[in-house]
């Protein structure tokens, strides 16, 4: 073996060490969150955490059900708003719009993905919340407000991933279909969307992850009542806001319970991530 080759081995080894950083960061995070969050769950019983409806930490009552339901509700709401808009935009930008228009619109959408979530929350607080309060009643801080803001926030994610997966469909499919006399829309509906399906689903799941994980914007517009919302206009608290809201003064078991909230959030996100990864991998295999 030459000296150069020996050096190459050394380089490979050091790079492997570095490459393990990503996975070790994940491992460290997992360990710390679980170490902090799980003991209390077992002390009080998993059931009382997951299914308890009363969140009164000062009275040792740690029911997370309202937050779990809240997270699910606003995420679902966000999808109802974000997915149709996002998919339509992605299809329009890839298959229908004039190239020049796409070249203007796509960067705008990508740029807006970078706007900090606090700004979205602020806009929600200033415009959406009063609008809902005046037009529909209630405090305005509500499931509806949170869903709309989250729906807008996940738009860029859904649009860019959907665009990528639609673009990844080989042009030959497009040509083949058009050459057989299909209209653009027929081609999209019958050939392109089915071929891009797993990628699009992966994008939606990632958008879902983003919605579930979003914190600051939600705190600002959701109202944060630790109660299962009875209507779209009622305030709601998500898992993330539960943590962010109470972390500052929490101590002792209260803090542990917040970490337990983190554990539940973490588990949900990991499940979603895995599903997204698997679906995306399926698309790549095709």
């Amino acid at each position: 073996m030459t000296k150069l080759e020996k050096n190459d081995r050394l380089v490979r080894l050091s790079l492997l060490m570095i490459a393990l950083s990503a996975i070790s960061v994940l491992a460290i995070i997992t360990v710390f969150i679980f170490e902090q969050g799980t003991p209390i769950m077992f002390r009080y019983g998993l059931k009382s955490f997951l299914l308890g409806q009363d969140w009164y930490p000062s009275e040792k009552s740690f029911g997370l059900l309202p937050m779990i339901v809240g997270s699910i509700m606003v995420t679902f709401g966000a999808l109802i708003i974000g997915v149709p808009l996002g998919l339509a935009s992605a299809i329009f930008l890839t298959e229908f719009s004039h190239r020049r228009l796409t070249r203007i619109l796509k960067p705008i959408i990508e740029l807006l993905a970078g706007i900090p979530s606090v700004v979205y929350g602020f806009i929600g607080l200033m415009f959406l919340v009063p609008f809902i309060r005046d037009k529909f009643g209630g405090p305005g801080l509500s499931v509806l407000a949170a869903s709309v803001i989250l729906g807008i926030m996940i738009l860029p994610t859904i649009i860019s991933i959907a665009i990528d997966s639609i673009r990844a469909v080989p042009d030959s499919y497009r040509e083949g279909s058009i050459a057989l006399g299909a209209t653009r829309w027929q081609t999209v509906r019958m050939v392109i969307l089915p071929a891009a399906r797993s990628g699009i689903i992966a994008g939606i799941i990632l958008g879902m992850g983003r919605a579930i994980g979003e914190t600051m914007a939600v705190i600002m517009v959701a109202g944060n009542a630790a109660d299962i919302p009875g209507s779209l206009l009622a305030p709601v608290r998500t898992l993330t806001s539960n943590i962010a809201l109470e972390m500052a003064y929490a101590s002792g078991e209260h803090r542990e319970a917040l970490f337990a909230t983190g554990v539940i959030l973490f588990v949900i996100i990991m499940i979603l991530n895995t599903i997204a990864n698997v679906t995306a991998a399926r698309q790549r295999k095709k």
């Binding site: 405090p139 305005g140 801080l141 003064y249 209260h254």
Partner: protein, 257 residues
Amino acid sequence: PSCRPGRRGHSLVVAGSTSIQPFADKWAEVFMEKRPGEIVDVQGGGSSAGIQAVGTGAAHIGMSSRELKDDEKELYQIEVAHDGLAIIVHPRNPLDNITIEQVKSIFLGEITTWESLNGQQKAITVVVREEGSGTRGAFQELVMGKSRITKKAIVQDSNGTVREIVSRDPNAIGFISLGLVNESVKALALNGVKPTEEAILKKEYRLVRPFLFLTKEVPTGLAKEFIDFVLSDEIQELILKEGLIPVRRVSRPEGSR
């Protein structure tokens, strides 16, 4: 910040109420800036823990945000500030006065509309602070007693945010530190008493709790220096700025929150 046993020697250990702790941290910081070499170590743990700590000598100064019970009264107590709570509503709300029982019913979720209070058939938006915060703790203690605040209440994590929300929602009611009340909201009179500094100092306004420093003996040395420092104009002014009510009158600066 967790509860460690008090260190002896040069450092002054101050422990107790988590409501006072964030303020005391600040005071200690300013103090240590002025007196390099001295160390003031502020710890939480709660009022009872603080009272106990002074009793056992684990802390030099205890902090309590409640009045002492009879069996605790042998300690020396120094009032360093008052924490008043204002019940606030939207400025356009016709209501001016409320009874403590009505407040309790509202925050219990028993009264849900303004009808019985000001005649409007609007649902009440109840706004509270988050679990664990001193303000909520005080409200719980002074108004709610053992009863739970309604789950339906909107929760915010700072007095500023509560005030902001009440100032925007004509149907909202909330509570904040008295020092933070400004023209954007209306502070209700409680049982006919307006929440003014005077009323508080005269003990007429009831939603108020003292911030107490406790010592076992007559304070001496570093403990005395620190207590005197907290009672100095400089810190009392700071206290005012931070939304508390000073025990010594100082001129109120413009635009304080």
